[in-house]
Symmetry: C2
Subunit: 104 residues, 2 copies
């Protein structure tokens, strides 16, 4: 069962879209941050500061990435990259479990 060891986990949740999207912040052993999150069905738009790597652990969704002219459909495990200082849109069809990391 994949897990992060020797990590720091912030107790309080991050809450977006009235709780339709929630996450917990984890600081990994190497000092880098990930957020482990859940998205319930709905349509969302998020902005990035730095680049993000979104690893979908489970779920069925579509994503519209900046600079792309079409939606990408995702079912189950899949990873996509989001540039920094950009926006991306998501249409979530089934409950989606994700791990987002923030490369520097």
């Amino acid at each position: 069962m994949p897990q992060f060891s020797n990590a720091t986990i912030v107790k309080a949740a991050n809450i977006y879209y009235d709780g339709q999207v929630t996450s917990r912040t984890v600081i990994k052993e190497d000092g880098s941050k990930v957020t482990l999150g859940i998205m319930l069905p709905g349509t969302y738009e998020f902005g990035t500061d730095g680049p993000e790597i979104m690893e979908i652990l489970s779920g069925h969704l579509k994503v519209l990435l900046p600079g792309e002219d079409g939606w990408q459909e995702i079912q189950g495990q899949h990873t996509f990259h989001v540039p920094g200082n950009s926006k991306f849109a998501l249409e979530v069809f089934t409950i989606t479990d994700y791990c987002c990391s923030y490369p520097v």
Copy 2:
């Protein structure tokens, strides 16, 4: 900001009630387990194996504990104890962030 250090967090979420209740499992430095969870508005019933200590971090809800004849209303930070091998009911009015621990 309260946090767990030197802990292990399981990557995949625990999902209940079609995602209306979700949590992540954390193994603390001392080896004991907690789950950090979110409950969206709704009515739920949960069963326990061992005793549980539910720390509400934020939210507005009512709980009906086993052996009690009335619902207890909770707004914001509050902790309640649930006996082992029992059932308890929750009516959640606003998104509720919690930390559940499992004393042995």
